[in-house]
């Protein structure tokens, strides 16, 4: 599974998105601030689920801004963390 597909699956599980919405997530899809399901508690859960499933550690000072603004930003962040 690609990082993109893993992140789609995580967003689907964490936010309860249906399959169609999850599949439609692309680099330009706005996340935090645009998706009603993604409130601050959900962001916290999302990041922890990403840590658990993709085996990275996310520091507090990395949270916020571009990384959760768009799906593309999140993918780039995770790939950077994994050195890909």
């Amino acid at each position: 599974m690609t990082i993109e597909d893993q992140l789609r699956a995580i967003l689907r599980d964490v936010l309860g998105l249906d399959a169609k919405r999850a599949a439609a997530l692309d680099a330009d899809t706005f996340l935090f601030g645009a998706m009603p399901e993604l409130d601050s508690m959900a962001v916290a859960g999302l990041l922890t689920e990403i840590e658990d499933r993709l085996h990275i550690l996310i520091e507090d000072d990395e949270v916020g801004g571009e990384m959760v603004e768009t799906f593309g930003g999140l993918v780039a962040f995770v790939k950077g963390k994994r050195g890909e």
């Binding site: 599980d13 964490v14 859960g45």
Partner: protein, 221 residues
């Protein structure tokens, strides 16, 4: 059987309460719920599982720990040892009421406390205290609220410190269940969604049915 399906409210420990489902003459399960917001998110699922297990002649006991759920105590006055002592007291109460030592089902952060309940434990998606604290801290950061009162939960410094070091105990007769999407060590994996992550309480009837099967075959002597 409607009477058996409505939970009874039962006192335990130091002025705390637990819900009791099902008969008192079959296997008895003490259920340790997830901690903090995850408890609210899983409540409907856990209540459904308890009712289904009660229908299979398994008694289920669901304590609200001090400072959580319906407890009258304030969370900021609760220490880690209070939770451990409450788990021990709940197990003792079940033993006294039913003449049966309970087995324990611990979900998520509940697994950090289960070693004080008894040797035989089933865990669903156990997690560490560090991970739970990260969740609380991050939600505060993301919402711009005070990190000392993350998501409306005020923890005493002592509770925070104990939690940050808390890991599930590895001593005892432990069986660990995880979701298929979680590749960390487990004895068995079930299909389902991590309901404890959902911002709005949700249910997953298929996962609940799998869980009921797993729990009942594990709890039956």
């Amino acid at each position: 059987m409607t009477a058996a399906r409505s939970p009874r409210v039962h006192p335990y420990g130091d002025g705390e309460f637990m819900l009791a489902y099902g008969p008192q003459d079959g296997p008895q399960i003490l259920i340790l719920q997830p901690l903090f917001e995850e408890m609210n998110r899983c409540r409907a699922m856990i209540a459904g599982v308890c009712r289904a297990l009660a229908g299979r002649t398994i008694g289920c006991w669901l304590p609200d720990l001090p400072g959580t759920g319906e407890s009258l105590r304030a969370l900021d006055a609760v220490a880690w040892e209070d939770w451990l002592a409450a788990v021990e007291a709940a197990a003792a109460t079940i033993r006294e009421e039913t003449d049966t030592p309970p087995v324990t089902l611990a979900i998520r952060g509940g697994a950090l406390l289960d070693h004080r309940a008894g040797p035989k434990r089933l865990r669903l998606a156990p997690t560490t205290g560090r991970s739970l604290l990260s969740d609380l801290r991050r939600s505060a950061l993301a919402s711009g609220s005070d990190p000392a009162h993350p998501a409306g939960y005020t923890l005493s410094p002592a509770l925070t410190e104990a939690l940050s070091a808390a890991e599930p105990s590895t001593v005892g007769d432990i069986r660990t269940l995880r979701l298929v999407s979680d590749d960390r060590p487990a004895d068995h994996r079930i299909a389902g969604t991590p309901l404890w992550r959902r911002p709005e309480p949700a249910t997953d009837p298929e996962m609940a049915a799998l869980l009921v099967d797993e729990i009942s075959s594990w709890a039956m002597p």
